[in-house]
């Protein structure tokens, strides 16, 4: 029996991947180049609409799958194709090896098929004594190395030309130069012989078209064309999710697929095959084969190859019937969700997938290859949402990754750590008591000193205020020491609220427009960074009291009267529970929060934590499916949007700058866009407009929207990957020459400031509220 990989084994594999310098630089170059080429490939196309169209086509095709199957089967059979439906991977393997046996096929050539990888077809056929050769260059390379592909579209992206040269030297028995053009020629020559000798060709299919009984193949090298032309027998293996009603649907998908996969407008070849095509070769293979068993007339099979289509279920029908997970069958296997994934970029495909790679792999591994192969993998996600933003089929990947995580824990037991977390979070009082105890218990480990002049963490209530954990308590390992972590505050925000509120001038002038604002603090700002909240409230107050002084003409020229509330029963937003696969706990916490705010009749619920905002807005109404929760979610607004759009910060300030009253404190400021702000909530411009409105010079970082590597429990579970993502981020920031990095999420601040301090970087890190609160 295959040995089960423990989380420790998995982490060892990750460490090895992180140490592989070639892989690191190859992945990095690819991540950056891909972004650019994708953008160019989609130039002039309304990408969102096109993706929505693809999603719709696939959604309907999945819904009507049984009907499409019947239609396809009947047309294809009329055309002389043998159509098989395989319920399981083994059944498909058996069908295909039987076809080989019945046709007397010994030598098999294949073009790239992820579905064949899914069912471990090569291994099966080789065990039957058949000789299988992959003909896609990348697939051939990994086959020769006895590996699986490390990317769905670029199987050998993890290898260097030197490794390939060495491999080819072995195959040809002659020294080969590490020159790519030459290596490609070697493959051309070596593989041409295999094509000629082969008895049987196996391909996948990108499209299986019901109304004409056609299969569509999207390739670049041209190998699939030879695989479907030279051998006597052609076997197609495709998941039933590849069925589509018409070629028009396929053409729409073909518009997105190559653009999203490699940034190509179209691959070199798209091949449409409708039934067995003309075959003029040697007929010494049994013909017509035993397996034909059909009533095909002799004329219809004369000079024709034998063609089989094996449609694979392997759990797909069950997935299709699940209202939530059925969308994963919309996947068109473009691989883009790996291309943009910050984790994939650090560790490559072999550590971020079992067979299927990237975000979709984190989900489908569970369904196709079982919880045992998925349970470590599924945790390896920062929840950054980059995959969802590029998915060709509009799949809600990050959320489904968490759903799978929960499912696996529900079925196979929740680890103690996550159970405890769930239990603690459910009980707000216990949670907060624990945090207060921790604030005392951390004493031996803390420092009250600022670390350096780049330390932007302000002194808090008193000189004894703990600032950082000097060294980590022993329960943490060395690997967590890559950033300087903040200490838990002595006086959390909730204890400061009374005096904050007392200091707030609650003007009650009747001619003013009134806004009632609830503050959602989230745990990190409540217990670690209360100063961020205080700064934010200062900004809100200043803006509201200034509201009419510039004759600003919105809200019907009325002044603004803001009432602030901080419901004491609010708790953690629940995202950490979801991240640990504790969905039930997340739902309980969501109810508590909805209830805590419901009695206040608020206009807005402002939060200074982008992750809380995105979770409250999108996840809470899904977790608590009622109108109160929906109403709650509708009111949630992140700080930058509130300040810029509701309080018109930018417009108020720009007026002042006309008077040359510029508060230039920094040389240059750059911005890190929290994942949950730019992708989670679609807010990209407000924070930058606010930064610019302070009068400072803004410089854009190249990768301002790339994840910082925090991801809550992700960085606790995978500190090594988190560290590497962070390093890349800090380099990118430093390259801008900025002396201040601004962001809008306390988690990002914790990660970025911790890293910047630890590595003595040249810039400070602050929350947007802290920048804006400096009176200009």
């Amino acid at each position: 029996m295959e040995k089960l990989e423990t989380i420790k084994d998995y982490k060892n594999r990750i460490d090895n991947a992180l140490e592989n310098q070639f892989l690191r630089s190859a992945m990095d170059k690819f991540a950056i180049a891909y972004r650019e080429s994708r953008k160019n490939a989609f130039a002039g196309i309304d990408t969102d609409t096109l993706i929505a169209e693809v999603a719709e086509i696939k959604r309907n095709a999945i819904k009507n799958n049984d009907k499409l199957f019947e239609e396809f089967k009947s047309v294809a059979q009329k055309n002389g194709v043998h159509v098989h439906l395989a319920a399981t991977a083994n059944e498909a393997n058996e069908i295909i090896s039987k076809i080989a046996k019945d046709t007397g096929s010994q030598k098999i050539i294949k073009s790239k098929s992820m579905t064949a990888e899914e069912i471990h077809l090569n291994k099966w056929l080789e065990n039957e004594g058949l000789k299988v050769t992959e003909t896609d260059l990348g697939e051939w390379i990994v086959q020769l190395r006895h590996e699986g592909p490390s990317h769905m579209v670029m199987p050998a992206i993890h290898l260097s030309r030197f490794q390939v040269a060495e491999l080819f030297s072995g195959v040809t028995g002659k020294e080969q130069d590490a020159e790519i053009e030459r290596l490609v020629k070697v493959a051309r020559k070596e593989l041409r012989e295999k094509f000629v000798e082969a008895d049987m060709g196996i391909t996948g299919a990108n499209f299986v078209i019901a109304d004409t009984g056609t299969i569509g193949l999207v390739t670049n090298e041209g190998n699939a064309r030879l695989v479907t032309t030279l051998p006597k027998v052609h076997v197609v293996l495709a998941g039933i999710d590849k069925l589509l009603p018409t070629i028009k649907d396929a053409l729409t998908i073909a518009k997105v697929l190559p653009r999203n996969a490699t940034g190509q407008k179209l691959t070199s070849y798209v091949t449409w095959i409708t039934g067995p095509s003309e075959y003029l070769g040697d007929n010494s293979v049994n013909y017509p084969s035993q397996s034909s068993m059909s009533a095909l007339s002799p004329e219809s099979t004369f000079n024709k190859r034998e063609m089989h289509i094996v449609l694979l279920d392997n759990g797909r029908r069950k997935i299709a019937s699940d209202p939530d997970f059925s969308q994963i069958l919309q996947c068109v296997r473009c691989g883009a969700c790996a291309n943009v994934c910050p984790v994939y970029r650090m560790v490559g495909g072999h550590t971020l997938g079992y067979i299927y790679i990237g975000a979709i792999g984190l989900i489908t591994t569970y369904f196709f290859h079982g919880a045992k192969n998925a349970k470590n993998l599924v945790q390896n996600c920062t929840n950054c949402g980059a995959c969802k933003a590029v998915c060709a089929a509009g799949i809600d990947l990050p959320r489904l990754i968490k759903e799978v995580h929960t499912k696996i824990q529900d079925e196979h037991g929740h680890p103690l750590k996550s159970l405890m977390l769930g239990k603690v979070l459910r009980d707000r009082k216990m949670f907060h008591t624990l945090l207060r105890i921790a604030s005392v218990a951390q004493k031996p480990f803390i420092t009250t000193q600022n670390i350096s002049d780049k330390d932007s963490s302000p002194k808090r209530v008193s000189a004894e205020e703990p600032l950082y954990l000097r060294h980590l308590p022993l329960i943490f390992f060395k690997e967590h020491n890559f950033r300087t972590l903040p200490a838990i505050t002595k006086v959390p925000f909730r204890d400061r609220w009374k005096s904050v509120k007392a200091n707030t001038k609650q003007l009650k002038e009747t001619n003013k427009k009134s806004l009632k604002i609830g503050i959602f603090s989230g745990c990190v700002q409540d217990f670690v960074y209360p100063e961020q909240l205080e700064a934010g409230l200062k900004v809100i107050q200043r803006l509201s009291s200034n509201f009419n002084t510039d004759n600003y003409n919105e809200h019907n020229n009325k002044q603004l009267n803001i009432t602030l509330e901080f419901p004491m029963d609010q708790s953690c937003c629940g995202l950490p529970a979801l991240m640990m696969g504790e969905k039930d706990a997340a739902a309980d916490v969501a109810v508590q929060n909805v209830n805590a705010f419901s009695e206040y009749e608020l206009d807005y619920i402002v939060t200074l934590c982008a992750s809380c905002a995105s979770h409250l807005k999108h996840a809470v109404p899904k977790l608590v499916n009622n109108t109160v929760a929906k109403d709650f979610a509708d009111k949630v607004i992140p700080f930058s949007q509130f300040v810029n759009q509701v309080l018109s910060y930018e417009k108020q300030h720009i007026k002042k700058f006309d008077n040359n009253n510029l508060p230039l404190k920094y040389n240059k400021i750059t911005w890190h866009s929290p994942c949950h702000l730019c992708r989670g909530l679609g807010i990209k411009d407000d924070p930058k407009q606010l930064i610019k409105a302070t009068g400072n010079t803004f410089v854009q970082a190249k990768e301002e929207e790339t994840c910082c590597g925090f991801g809550g429990s992700f960085s606790a579970n995978f500190p090594a990957i988190s560290r590497e993502i962070l390093n890349r981020k800090l380099d990118d920031v430093e390259n801008t020459g900025a002396d201040l990095l601004v962001t809008e999420c306390p988690g990002c601040v914790m990660q970025l400031r911790g890293g910047a301090l630890n590595q003595n970087r040249k810039f400070k890190v602050v929350h947007l509220a802290e920048l804006l609160s400096v009176k200009s």
Partner: protein, 180 residues
């Protein structure tokens, strides 16, 4: 998009994917262009030319010391120098040619040749694949049909993502657009 724009877009997009575009007034002209790309002793294949066109090409081949194959290409899987085929359509959006290649010899002439020369009537160039979905559906609905969209020569980027031309298919693709 009007016709002139479609044709210039086709030329532009095809060139972007390393196809070489030529223009000819007549079929005869197009054959001359194709032959001008050959060296002496080339072996070329042009299966399925009809009787009105075949003699023209045969004559040119004899004049230039070129061997012309019309069938049994399976015997030449080590490679031939050039394959000349008609293309059914052009797709401007991506610079693609559509070649219905149901016959094995025609198919092989587009696969095992070092240089593929496709002859394309100007009037058969369409703006986008989706615009011609009905025509494509008709083409692909015929039993035993094998329809190829070809966009530039065969390529790979499987080693270090460096683009290399000509893996398993032609190393060069020439498209000759015929006016009449």
């Amino acid at each position: 998009m009007n016709n002139i724009n479609i044709i210039s877009e086709f030329k532009e997009k095809a060139s972007l994917v390393s196809a070489v575009i030529h223009e000819a007034d007549t079929i005869e002209d197009s054959f001359r262009i194709a032959i001008s790309l050959c060296k002496k002793n080339f072996i070329i294949a042009s299966p399925q030319l009809d009787n009105s066109n075949l003699p023209l090409l045969e004559k040119l081949c004899i004049e230039n010391g070129i061997t012309l194959l019309k069938e049994n290409l399976r015997k030449y899987t080590n490679g031939i120098d050039m394959g000349i085929t008609f293309a059914d359509f052009g797709i401007a959006e991506t610079g693609t040619i559509v070649v219905s290649s149901d016959s094995e010899d025609k198919r092989l002439s587009t696969m095992i040749s070092e240089i593929h020369v496709a002859l394309l009537y100007k009037s058969n160039i369409r703006a986008t694949a989706l615009d011609m979905a009905d025509e494509l559906s008709a083409l692909t609905s015929r039993p035993s049909s094998y329809t190829a969209f070809i966009t530039g020569p065969s390529r790979t980027a499987d080693i270090e993502r460096v683009l290399a031309i000509g893996v398993h298919g032609p190393i060069a693709l020439h498209v000759i657009i015929i006016a009449a």
